[in-house]
């Protein structure tokens, strides 16, 4: 079965500081990877997805970026955080087979002060 690790679990950062959130996946190869943000309220906003190493698609134009340096590693970054970047960041993975099942990681709670 797949296991998703997200680091760190919580983070408090000042406005204007850089950001790096990491997601690693175990138990599968060549998965599709996704970054979501969940702001106050409940909605899940898809930020980026990747179908392979170095392949990143952006869903929402903003000051965030994503990279996939290894098959099972997905990184979310920012050069300068904004207050509006606060939220619950979730990494998700889906196997490249016909199961279609997508699984979420435990999330990173980011507070920008």
């Amino acid at each position: 079965s797949q296991t998703i690790h997200q680091w760190p679990a919580t983070l408090v950062q000042p406005v204007g500081s850089p950001l790096s959130l990491e997601c690693t996946v175990e138990g599968t190869s060549n998965p599709n990877l996704y970054w979501y943000r969940q702001a106050a309220g409940r909605g899940l906003q898809l930020l980026f997805y990747s179908v392979g190493i170095g392949q990143i698609s952006s869903e929402v134009p903003q000051n965030l970026s994503a990279s996939r340096p290894q098959d099972r590693q997905f990184i979310l970054s920012s050069k300068k955080l904004l207050l509006s970047d606060s939220g619950f960041y979730l990494c998700a993975t889906r196997r490249r087979d016909l199961s279609y099942e997508q699984y979420f990681g435990p999330g990173t709670r980011l507070t920008v002060t």
Binding site: Y34, G43, L44, Y49, L90, Y100, E101
Partner: protein, 113 residues
């Protein structure tokens, strides 16, 4: 542009009752419809899912009903328990764009003892 509409936003049910959450989609380019359950501070967990060639799927107390012609699907929770109190999300998987999931806005379910 929201392509999956979920209702109600919140739902209160008595223990032992039936919880019903509805979703409607606006795009036919979907081939998989999952439901997720999320507890506070946790990542969403895959609960049950259905493909459009099936009209109903049941797993324990959870049932998905799917109406392809009406572009609607619903989650029924039988014999609802206080432990079912959580936020529920429906979703639809795109046949393109990396198979991304389009999520509904969520339903906060509270089961009263």
């Amino acid at each position: 542009q929201q392509q999956v509409k979920q209702s109600p936003q919140s739902l209160i049910v008595q223990k032992g009752g039936i919880s019903i959450i509805n979703c409607a989609y606006e795009n036919t380019a979907f081939d998989y419809f999952p439901w997720y359950q999320q507890f506070p501070g946790k990542g969403p967990a895959l609960l049950i899912a259905i493909r459009p060639d099936v009209s109903e799927k049941k797993e324990g107390r959870f049932t998905i009903s799917f109406n392809k012609s009406a572009k609607q699907f619903s989650l029924h929770i039988m014999d609802s328990q206080p432990g079912d109190s959580a936020t529920y999300f429906c979703a639809a998987k795109s046949t393109s764009q990396g198979g991304k999931l389009i999520f509904g806005q969520g339903t906060e379910l509270s089961v009263k003892p």
